[in-house]
Amino acid sequence: MKRASLVLTVAFAAGLATPAAHAQTLKTVTDRGMVSCGVSQGLPGFSSPDDKGNWTGFDVDICRAVAAAIFNDPSKVKFVPLSAKDRFTALQSGEIDVLSRNTTWTLSRDTTLGANFTGVTYYDGQGFLVKKSLKVNSALELNSASVCVQTGTTTEQNLADYFKSNSMKYEVIAFASADETVKAYESGRCDVFTSDVSQLYAERLKLANPADHAVLPEVISKEPLGPMVRHGDDQWFDLVKWVLFAMVDAEELGITQKNVDDMAKSDKPELKRVFGTDGNLGEQLGVTKDWVARIVKAVGNYGEAFDRNVGAGSKLGIARGLNQLWNKGGIQYAPPIR
């Protein structure tokens, strides 16, 4: 395509390459043999490299699940660490196929970025982290505080809204990366560090004495976090969307990493559809019939991935809360695989 190559020339200069609008992402991914996945630059529990350089975390597992569905191999993912500021440009330019980087679903992001959210992997909200020595028990006591925040996030706007509507004054210091933000908070430049609550728990682990810091009870915003794909490729959009649904449905049906092989032999009609022994639901998505089994074998069901990375089985120890299944008091709900 002559036109596309011309555009790439510019785009290079402007920092934004625009690929052809209706790119066949699944085909590109299959040909490449890798899913290119945008993640954070290191957020324990969600996406961070371990001491051997392997990426782990909840957001990472979403990409591994996509790779498992396509290649039956969760390691066929190339992880691209991105700052909050650069993430959308990387997706728009085609550098990554999926953005799985604790990104809040908002209307403007859904409509103006040329990208779509495929679902909610984690229901989060914005909170405040303070030093216990300040003896602050509520966010309403934060008048005239200095607040450290990472730039390029919904956090900055929520912060401004919250302090304005409670007629409190504050000073904001915005940093490009999460690490610098936390460093400034730790050095005493700010009284408060604000971000999504899950991130506060994760970043607290990086502090010298995590026990000296507390997360305030107020949650000042809705932050539904989810993966994004480029607008205009519905097949790829469907696949990424249903990988998450499959993980949630697997938990609801009681399919776990351990029992997946036994469950696959079940002759319950519902399980037969899920495992592809009946019908060709996986093929309709553009992958194989046993896609759900592949996903669960690789990363487990939704609950397993949650517990292992951020929940009870992890250092973060975050309660399921809103992220519990709908029939257990939470709001995680997935359409049926049928």
Binding site: R3, A14, T111, A145, V172, A176, E180
Partner: protein, 402 residues
């Protein structure tokens, strides 16, 4: 051919041909035209295609976002700004913050650079070694590293506001920055300003009179005691008559922070320190080279006239050295301005941080915002170059080679 029509002299046509087409003549000129046309066509295609592709992907484009409400706050704003202002205002807030650190940085970098250069050339062994060590250390370490060093070093050394260091009960130094009393205008301000203006004008007139006396009659006048008396005495007398020009609002610790007073944020201090010291190391080398390029005889001539080393440098050597110094000095000024965009690393709200950072990620309009930001840096650089060229031109004229 009628006698009235006068074809241009052949020499003119030949000159034109040579200027436009070079050695290749008119054929060369045609190629150049074709080349420019192709460039314009490529530019046009680029814009059209980018727009078409953005539209196809339903990525919002255009400059409409500039009128939207920003909805986030900035820690340092030279013009009144709040979260309910527009992205246009954010742009100006960021631009002014960039210009502030650039202008003050250029001033300090130049001052430190000259001092270090003179130190390096000094006959004093220790001074020359210290200056040399400074240059070698500073210019060989990455700037980003130095910015982070100053930021973390400054922050780590300072106490929290509740244990802030108080100077005279009205200046407070803490890890929230330096809080100083803010002047508030009083009725006496107007007469004070007029008195100051009168004093400055009188001092300037006196100076030009003294110069004339020196150049025309060879009489050296000591005018600085009179100038000092004028500049301090006149405003002082006025404020005694009309009352104090300003009152000072003393900052007070309230809750987490100081209320009242003006504040210099630590991000600004760290960035200014790093940029000034880093650029000064390069300027020092440029100035040293410039001074050494002036013939040794000039220095000896000054000495034989009975001028001190300082006067010889100031009156004879530096003005000649400036011709050599000026072009690379301009480069350093431009570098400093552009390097100020590293501010984002330490949370100083410069143009790149608030506009090409926060605004970009909130609106997602990368092409427009990056284009505006690049345009602004280009404009700042071109204006700086123009000012320096003008200065160079004036300097050249005063040295007698117009």
């Amino acid at each position: 051919m009628s006698t009235e029509s006068r074809p241009p002299p052949p020499q003119f046509a030949a000159k034109l041909r040579r200027a436009l087409g070079g050695r290749a003549g008119w054929g060369g000129f045609a190629f150049q035209l074709l080349f420019v046309a192709v460039l314009i066509w490529i530019g046009y295609e680029i814009v059209v295609n980018a727009r078409a592709n953005l539209q196809a992907q339903r990525i919002t484009s255009g400059f409409g976002f500039l009128g939207n409400t920003a909805g986030f706050d900035v820690s340092q704003n030279l013009i009144p700004y709040s979260g309910s202002d527009t992205y246009t205002r954010v742009f100006f807030v960021g631009l002014l913050n960039t210009l502030l650190v650039a202008v003050i940085g250029i001033f300090f970098a130049t001052a430190i650079g000259f001092i270090v250069a003179l130190g390096r050339l000094s006959p004093n062994w220790l001074l020359a070694r210290i200056s040399g060590g400074y240059v070698e250390l500073i210019r060989n370490l990455p700037l980003l590293f130095q910015i982070l060093f100053w930021y973390l070093a400054v922050l780590a050394a300072l106490p929290n506001p509740r244990q802030g260091i108080a100077l005279f009960g009205s200046f407070f130094l803490s890890n929230r920055g330096l809080v100083i009393p803010r002047p508030v205008a009083e009725p006496g301000l107007e007469p004070f300003a007029i008195a100051l203006l009168v004093a400055v004008v009188a001092a300037l007139l006196l100076r030009s009179y003294a110069r004339r006396q020196l150049f025309e009659h060879g009489r050296l006048m000591r005018i600085w005691p009179i100038v000092l008396g004028l500049l301090i005495g006149l405003p002082l007398v006025t404020s005694l008559v009309f009352g104090a020009p300003v009152m000072f609002e003393i900052p007070q610790l309230k809750g987490f922070n100081f209320a009242g007073g003006s504040r210099v944020i630590p991000e600004f201090v760290a960035l200014l320190l790093a940029l000034s010291l880093y650029t000064a190391a390069f300027i020092a080398e440029i100035v040293r080279a410039g001074i050494q390029s002036v013939h040794k005889g000039q220095m000896e001539a000054g000495a034989s006239l009975g001028l001190s080393r300082g006067s010889t440098l100031r009156l004879i050597v530096v003005p000649q050295a400036l011709r050599v110094i000026l072009p690379p000095l301009t480069n350093q000024y431009l570098n400093l301005t552009k390097n100020s965009s590293l501010a984002v690393a330490i949370g100083y709200p410069d143009l790149v941080s608030v506009f090409a950072g926060t605004t970009l990620s909130q609106t997602g309009q990368a092409i427009e915002i990056i284009a505006i930001t690049m345009g602004v840096y280009l404009l700042i650089s071109l204006v700086t170059s123009a000012i320096m060229s003008f200065y160079g031109w004036r300097l050249g004229r005063s040295l007698g080679n117009t």
